[in-house]
């Protein structure tokens, strides 16, 4: 068998082996994406009508207050990201000191992560019950009478944030732990010899080492957070008091499947896609930069 013959065969098999994922990508992602963009330029109602209307879906978005609310709510709930990151980093630092029961703690903190979001939402919905919920009973121990969390427009978003932090904490902590464990002990020992205090060695050794993973966490959290849906669908099926807990995907879903406005919903989907695209692009850029820094 000659080399060129071998190569020709390899070429064919190479294509053959990647055929399935490539087809899947084209059929279920690229084509629908283009179709979404096209649909966003029409008055598509899902029942048969689909005529071109230019950019008017997008201009309507500028004046649609419910959309603004949904965007605001979605962004507001991302406040949970810095909270979760801070807590997770502290926990990981604690665990990394080799405290007793590290493995057990790791497992316990990770249980909410593997629990289904639907079940967890149901549980928290009950925990936020104004009278008999776990949260208010806990607050009661300190003499605080808590609100009916899910029915109050000021507390519904914080309530969802607390739940999101609780659910995601284990995952973030785990990523930090892995990053911390890759930091050689000798750095710290050297720093200690130089008389650095705890904060200084955190600033100059730990933080630079965990910065890339922090960045990864922030970006994946933003991407995930911008698609938040299940929680509100289960906990506030009508979008919450004064639409205070409706997210962008919730609104897209309502418009597309609840009021025959596929074109308008597609326009929102395109905006969401563009947002995530930009965020990911920034990540790539920054990653490139930070790796140059390290080199």
């Amino acid at each position: 068998m000659t080399t060129s013959n071998l190569y020709r065969k390899e070429k064919i098999y190479g294509f053959l082996f990647i055929l399935a994922p490539l087809l899947g990508l084209i059929i279920f992602t690229l084509y629908p994406m283009l179709y979404s963009i096209y649909g966003s330029l029409t008055d598509w109602d899902g029942l048969g009508q689909m005529s071109f209307i230019g950019l008017s879906n997008f201009t309507d978005l500028f004046t649609d207050e419910l959309f603004h609310k949904a965007v605001f709510n979605t962004l507001f709930m991302m406040l949970g990201i810095p909270i979760g990151i801070t807590l997770a980093l502290l926990l990981a630092l604690g665990l990394n000191r080799g405290a007793r029961g590290t493995t057990t703690f790791r497992v316990i903190y990770y249980v909410p992560v593997i629990s289904s979001l639907a079940a967890v939402s149901i549980m928290w919905n009950w925990a936020y019950n104004g009278d008999y919920g776990l949260v208010n009973q806990f607050l009661d121990l300190f003499g605080i009478s808590g609100p009916n969390w899910m029915a109050n427009k000021y507390t519904v978003k914080p309530a969802l944030i607390i739940m999101a932090v609780w659910k995601g904490l284990g995952y973030t902590m785990l990523l930090y732990l892995a990053a911390l464990q890759s930091v050689s002990r000798t750095y710290y020992e050297a720093a200690e010899l130089d008389g650095a205090n705890g904060f200084q060695s955190f600033r100059h050794i730990t933080w630079p080492m965990v910065r890339p993973v922090t960045f990864f966490i922030v970006v994946t959290n933003i991407i995930g957070g911008s698609q938040i849906f299940t929680e509100m669908n289960i906990m506030t099926p009508t979008g919450g008091p004064e639409y205070a807990s409706a997210s962008v995907v919730f609104y897209i879903w309502q418009k597309a499947f609840g009021s025959f406005q596929m074109g308008y919903a597609s326009a929102m989907a395109v905006v969401l896609g563009a947002f995530i695209f930009v965020v990911t692009l920034i990540q790539f850029r920054m990653n490139e930069k930070s790796s140059f820094d390290v080199d």
Binding site: L47, G48, Q49, G130, D131, G258, F260
Partner: protein, 468 residues
């Protein structure tokens, strides 16, 4: 590192199970296809016409609380017993989820054979060929006497291509739902206050006065624990607005009219019940225990009652009865009558059977008796309803009020008239600050009117397009 043996066992286990289950899955899907097959194209049984031995399966999609779900399930079972060759597959959801479920089925072209729909969606469904025209079937059915069914209810589902309310019938009312006002009779008697007149409505001032008398602090902790009332603005405001001579939309159904001062006055009155007269729990208090629960615990003098509440209220620890809503400047009481339609898919394989099921649920004596017995609705049949209302031995005694609302002063909710109800829903999305007294009603209606008008214009535009 990894225990290789464990992984291997797991993988082979997964593979075995998946092969077995995949087998099940295949069967499952095949069965489902031949059962539903709404599109009619996936089937090659089209040539196999009415073989009487063939089982015809209908899907019936509806919604409701648990009592209502159970009641309808039972009636459907009775229907199956009467029609041995028809099998009904039930898809039932909670009320909040129904609209998206149904609409996703419609856009996904897997329309259930028989389903509930809101009268407000009638035009959209007819224009896009979703609903079956029931006219010829109903005329052919000798057992149905349309004159014996609430005209209000049937007319909601008539459409002639331009105007709703006239023309062919595309759905039958599942029920008519008069939204009456109830009062806690036991509380009145205990307080020694004369019972409200069932024929002469309170004026707004009188209503406040009575409510104030019944708002009391029984435990002496400085906070009332019994209240005059506690309305949910979304369902009670209509009664006040209409009886004050105002409305959400004008008679041409093209202009939002909430900036009418009489409208603002009614809205302000509702807000004042909480903030000025303090006869309702504050928003905070209502959040810890909502007004519905307070009413059921006997801590509230007045509360709305719909027919669907009767089964739940059966076990209330006090006696209650119905009265008309307090009357505003027109001197007349007003409220709304809700309804849901039951329609059939235009693409159903078994139109005859689908319509038979609709008739059974909405217009047959047997079906109606079972539903009324379950206390989830008032009878659709006028003669049955009259008899039912005359029986004052069951709670509530003044069932007659329900019938008066249906026959006489009940109106349809404003969203019904337009292609969609988004403009109307927006009104209630932002209303809480008014109820909390942070924004005056006058300011609110002024700022909200243009936003609602914009959505209404959009709905009108959408309707025009769908007709083409």
């Amino acid at each position: 590192m990894l225990k290789k043996k464990g992984w291997f066992t797991l993988l082979s286990l997964i593979l075995t199970v998946s092969v077995v289950l995949a087998g099940c899955g295949g069967n499952n899907n095949n069965a489902a296809k031949s059962n539903t097959g709404n599109t009619g194209t996936t089937e090659n049984t089209a040539t196999k016409t009415d073989d009487s031995k063939e089982t015809k399966e209908l899907t019936f999609m509806y919604r409701g609380g648990t009592d209502e779900q159970a009641a309808y399930k039972k009636v459907v079972e009775k229907f199956e017993a009467d029609h041995p060759n028809v099998k009904v597959k039930i898809i039932v959801t909670a009320a909040d989820q129904y609209a998206t479920k149904l609409k996703a089925s419609i856009t996904g072209k897997s329309i259930p054979d028989v389903f509930y729909f809101e009268s407000g969606d009638l035009k959209a469904y007819v224009n896009s060929g979703v609903l079956l025209d029931l006219n010829s079937y109903i005329e052919a059915n000798k057992d149905i006497n349309l004159d014996n069914i609430w005209k209000y209810g049937v007319d909601l589902y008539r459409y002639d291509g331009t105007m709703a309310g006239q023309g062919n019938i595309y759905g039958m009312p599942k029920d008519v739902g008069p939204f009456a006002l109830g009062y806690n009779k036991t509380m009145f008697e205990k307080a020694g206050i004369p019972l409200p007149d069932k024929d002469k409505p309170y004026t707004w001032d009188e209503f406040v006065k009575v409510a104030q008398q019944l708002t009391v602090d029984t435990t002496g902790d400085g906070k009332p624990d019994q209240y005059g009332t506690g309305f949910n603005v979304q369902w009670a405001l209509q009664a006040f607005v209409w009886s004050n001579g105002a409305d959400w939309i004008d008679s041409t159904k093209t202009k939002v009219t909430i900036d009418d001062p009489k409208f603002a006055e009614a809205l302000q009155y509702m807000a004042d019940l909480q903030n000025k007269y303090k006869v309702t729990p504050s928003t905070e208090q209502a959040q810890t225990l909502d007004t519905y629960q307070r009413w059921m615990k006997g801590e509230m003098a007045f509360f709305p009652v719909g027919p669907w509440d009767m089964s739940t209220y059966e076990t209330l620890p006090f006696d209650y009865d119905l009265i008309p809503y307090p009357a505003g400047s027109t001197g007349k009481s007003a409220t709304w009558t809700g309804s849901l339609g039951i329609g059939a898919s235009a693409k159903t394989k078994y139109p005859e059977e689908a319509v038979a099921l609709i008739d059974y649920l909405t217009a047959s004596k047997e079906g109606m008796e079972a539903l009324v017995k379950a206390k989830v609705q008032i009878p659709n049949l006028i003669d049955m309803a009259t008899e039912w209302a005359a029986d004052t031995s069951t709670k509530p005694a003044n069932k007659e009020e329900f019938l008066q609302i249906v026959n006489d002063y009940g109106r349809v909710l404003p969203g019904h008239y337009t292609y969609n109800a988004e403009w109307y829903n927006l009104f209630f999305t932002d209303i809480q600050p008014v109820i909390d007294g942070k924004v005056t009603a006058a300011d609110y209606v002024k700022s909200e009117q243009p936003k609602m008008q914009k959505l209404l214009d959009k709905a009108i535009e959408q309707e025009e397009k769908s007709k083409k």
